[in-house]
């Protein structure tokens, strides 16, 4: 397989993941995006193995390794900072996972009043007593995008460091 075909497939995978992400939100089903991401990763690595015209030498491998290492180090610090802040924020209020159950009002036609506990996982967001829950989703999105930008930034840095940028002489 040619590398251009591989890049087109990567683009299609990315667009499909975006659509599945949207579907996942529409149907309030985290399973869709979770399974899709794992499948996309497997497809990516299987397809990458079949590419025949990508030349990888010691310099490109060094750039890959340095970029991955720097991205992981930076992302761990970023994720740790945000996650610890979020944990403190959540622990400061009532937690929503004590019994993996939520309560719904009983049928009003039944004389015995009260609430019925329904086992459920994950607990529907509207039943978790945390205000501004959307903040979590936005922060997670920001962190994912930040990790992508960090990767691209380090990639440019190491390609410049171990290569000649812009010059193309024979």
């Amino acid at each position: 397989m040619k590398k251009n075909t591989f890049y087109i497939i990567c683009g299609l995978i990315a667009v499909s993941l975006l659509l599945l992400f949207w579907l996942s939100i529409e149907f309030s089903s985290p399973v869709i995006i979770a399974v899709s991401v794992v499948l996309a990763a497997v497809i990516f690595f299987v397809v990458k193995q079949r590419v025949t015209d990508i030349v990888q030498d010691e310099r490109t491998i060094l750039i890959d390794m340095k970029t991955a290492s720097a991205t992981i180090k930076t992302s761990v610090v970023l994720f740790l900072t945000v996650n610890l802040s979020m944990i403190v924020y959540v622990f400061s209020g009532p937690l929503g996972f004590h019994s993996f159950a939520y309560s719904i009002p009983r049928d009003p036609m039944i004389l015995s009043e009260g609430y019925e506990f329904v086992p459920y996982f994950p607990v529907p967001p509207e039943t978790i007593p945390i205000s501004e829950l959307g903040l979590f989703a936005v922060l997670q999105l920001i962190m994912i995008v930040a990790a992508l930008f960090i990767y691209v930034g380090f990639r440019f840095y190491y390609v410049r460091k171990f290569g000649v940028w812009g010059e193309d002489e024979e």
Binding site: V55, D57, E58, R59, T60, F162, G163, V164, E170
Partner: protein, 53 residues
């Protein structure tokens, strides 16, 4: 001198042309294996091709 392009040398050594260019410009230090392969290609010694700063 050898009437050789970077692309041809890269193909001969199994590396990318950018790697040859980076070595020429002193931006990348090749591994010992690649250094020996380069010197062997030119039928000379590693010391003749590379200088240690």
């Amino acid at each position: 001198m050898h009437d050789l392009t970077q692309d041809a040398l890269a193909k001969e050594l199994g590396v990318t042309r950018q790697t040859i260019l980076a070595i020429e410009k002193g931006k990348y230090d090749p591994s010992l294996e690649l250094a020996f392969r380069i010197s062997r290609y030119f039928h000379t010694t590693v010391e003749e091709v590379f200088l240690f700063d």
